[in-house]
């Protein structure tokens, strides 16, 4: 208890003293931003544990992953926690973005934070993909081959970008080392600073968005002790859920990468299944580069499509129909093509 009294000011710094009740309602935010931060934390610490065994060379990458998974004490659980933590982060971050759109959380002055959040989502996806690559199993190797070759399709600078990414004229030791460096250090730094800045910006922009009083908002507040307690319970339950997932649904790992052609069906990680499905149908420059960038560009437009008017802080407000229609359309496209690929 003395420890708590001494340090509570640090923990208290996470939240303002009083939080508007209508913004802190579970059915308003579903705690998705918090879940994302929680998932990122779990992933970071389990990732740290994995670096104690993982060897980023083509000869040893898969073998050391097998060692972690099959031999090291509780290695399978830690690796699975890392995997499920990362998947939870992708899902929670995406749903967080959707929540922001449907409740109007991007409204001024929050445009900049929307763009930061969007960048963090992209970082999360690259983080996830680069982690998938580090398994160096057959599926990951071929997905990396397809993914990196997409860069070569870019006119004029494609080859240079490919070299910068892969560090060689073909996939090999330098590609693995670069993905390892980015996954473990580069993206972690970017995501870490990004998350802190995202949260700081949120406080600066007035805290969690909420309905105005005439829109059903209440002048009531909850204390940060109450909020912290709720968060503590949520973290405990989520931890248990991740532990159960990690125990009974271990992270996948295929046989070692076999670079001879035709040895494996190429299967993108689930987050990019929609891109893979597009690649089957249209030229790869369009499917792999232009369309994903266009989706990103459209998402970046969200706070500029709808800047003022009624509907702030209200789920599915009709007055803000433009961004909601856009995100629904994008969701249908991404989910539809993903399902099409998954059910092939």
């Amino acid at each position: 208890m003395r420890l708590w009294r001494r340090n509570k000011s640090l923990i208290y710094a996470l939240h303002p003293e009083k939080i508007p009740a209508s913004g802190a309602r579970l059915t308003y935010t579903f705690g998705l931003g918090g879940i994302t931060v929680f998932a990122a934390t779990v992933t970071a610490f389990t990732g740290l544990a994995l670096t104690l065994y993982y060897v980023p060379t083509p000869a040893d990458a898969h073998a050391s992953t097998v060692l972690i998974n099959d031999i090291a004490s509780f290695g399978a659980v830690i690796r699975s926690l890392h995997y499920w933590g990362a998947q939870l982060m992708v899902i929670a971050a995406t749903l967080h973005l959707v929540r922001i759109v449907f409740t109007g959380g991007y409204r001024p002055p929050r445009e900049l934070n929307w763009l930061i959040g969007l960048t963090l989502l992209v970082v999360t996806l690259i983080w996830d993909f680069s982690g998938y690559v580090l398994r160096w199993d057959n599926g990951a190797f071929w997905a990396l081959l397809v993914g990196t070759n997409l860069f070569r399709e870019i006119p004029f600078c494609g080859e240079i970008l490919y070299r910068a990414l892969v560090g060689d004229t073909q996939l090999g030791a330098s590609a693995l080392l670069r993905f390892y460096g980015w996954h473990v250090i580069g993206l972690t730094l970017i995501a870490g600073f990004g998350i802190v800045y995202h949260l700081w910006r949120l406080r600066k922009d007035g805290g969690i968005s909420r309905p105005s009083l005439e829109n059903g908002g209440t002048p009531a507040f909850v204390s940060r002790d109450t909020l912290l307690f709720r968060e503590f319970i949520a973290v405990a339950l989520l931890t248990a859920a991740l532990l159960f997932l990690a125990t009974f649904f271990p992270a996948p790992l295929g046989p070692a990468a076999n670079p001879s052609p035709g040895t494996s069906e190429v299967r993108a990680p689930w987050i990019f299944l929609w891109v893979q499905n597009l690649l089957r149908a249209i030229p790869s420059l369009w499917a792999g580069i232009i369309i994903p960038l266009a989706v990103l560009g459209l998402l970046a437009l969200v706070p500029f499509l709808d800047r003022r008017g009624p509907g702030r802080g209200v789920w599915f407000a009709r007055a803000r129909w433009k961004p909601q229609a856009l995100i629904a359309l994008l969701a249908i496209i991404v989910v539809g093509f993903s399902l099409r690929e998954a059910l092939r």
């Binding site: 073998a63 097998v66 405990a236 790992l253 295929g254 046989p255 070692a256």
Partner: protein
Amino acid sequence: MSKPWWIFIAGATVLLAVGAIVWRENHRPWQAWQERYNLQPNVTPIAIGIKTLVPTRTGQPELCLTCHVGIEDISPSHPATAVGCVICHGGDPLALDAGRAHGNMHGGGNPSDLSVAMASCGTTDCHGGNADPEQNHVTRVLHSMPATYAGGIANVRYTFGAQASPAAQFAVHAVEDTSKPLPPRALTSLATLGTLHPIDAQLQQNCLTGGCHLWSPAKSEPYYYRSTGCATCHYLFDDEGLYRGNDPTIPHDQPGHGIVHRLTTAIPFTQCNHCHNRGTYSLKQMAFLPREDLPPAGPPLSAQMPAEGRRLVEYYQPVGDFTKCEIELNCIDCHTAQEVMGDGHIYGAKPDAYYVQCQTCHGTLTSAPAVETIRDANETAMRQARIDGHADFLSVGDQVVQTARGELLWSVKQTALGQFVQIDKVTGTTYKVPLVLGSRCAQDGSDQSAKYCHQCHYVTR
């Protein structure tokens, strides 16, 4: 709900999850296999734990024996401590998950399947890539008639008018022999059998599937069980095809497994029977007609039926003359490695490749069999004696029979008294070899068929 309730529920859930992790850590699949191993009768129980093997040949740790605890050493020539598992089987040596451990394996459970044998058995310094072609066993077998099926294909196509002469042109898979000079009657190449002629499709269907050659898996029926590739002959199956060893992961009640995980060169006639004594090949119907007189597979036939019946069942039926032989030899006592696995060259018909005859060991009216002296402990004949498990039968300086093609028959030697003695390669029984020279035999040197010699040399059983 009040705060304490929430704390209780959250705490209990976390504890339950941690309990699940600990339980899972102590109930991994390999632990279950080891517990099953310990439950088997006739085994010394082992301590549960990961079993690491570091074969001297690779120096790389392998954990295969963690699950495959109790599996038999594949042969005295390939001890696991030296060779390990992965050189032959491929797979992932560190994985303790069945799916991953067995990914990238050579030929599934059988690394000697001819589709992969060059990458497993036939790697350099093993049974391939040697300066002495005799030791490149995989190449020899790939060129041999049990693998090409050249004679069978040629016979059927000729009979049905698909080719103008009975000379072999096709094989199951194309083969080519670039060595020079070629021995008499050897061919330079055979093409893969395609569908040039209308009957070829039927030929493929009826004669190249179902276990007619070394590439093709056998019927999954009692008496037919066998492996493919090198293991067709060297990996012994019993009539029921059941595994009877100590590896808990190999099902003991599902047929289709060898008796134990063991390769041997001392191949008993029962193994040959899985292909060669199971029926007749009807040219007219272009079909295999299975025997119908076999008793249900089960206990050894000697326990099931009287001697003469057993011999009819056990010995090659289509040429019943063998069943009259005065002594019981094993097939490999006459059909040597050079005959069965080939000499590395391609032949199109059995008479072109097979050359061991009665007179090879019994001599002729005018001469004793040709003999040659063993000069070196490492020459092929000595090696074969060792590998077959009869090292003490032969020593340097012994004289052994030499065939017309120069192959030394290590199992037939001439004693100091001039007598010839043969050892059965499988059972180790020794026999005196009577000579034609000086006997009352009315041998016709030009007819050496089994039928001819067994006109006189037979016993009624």
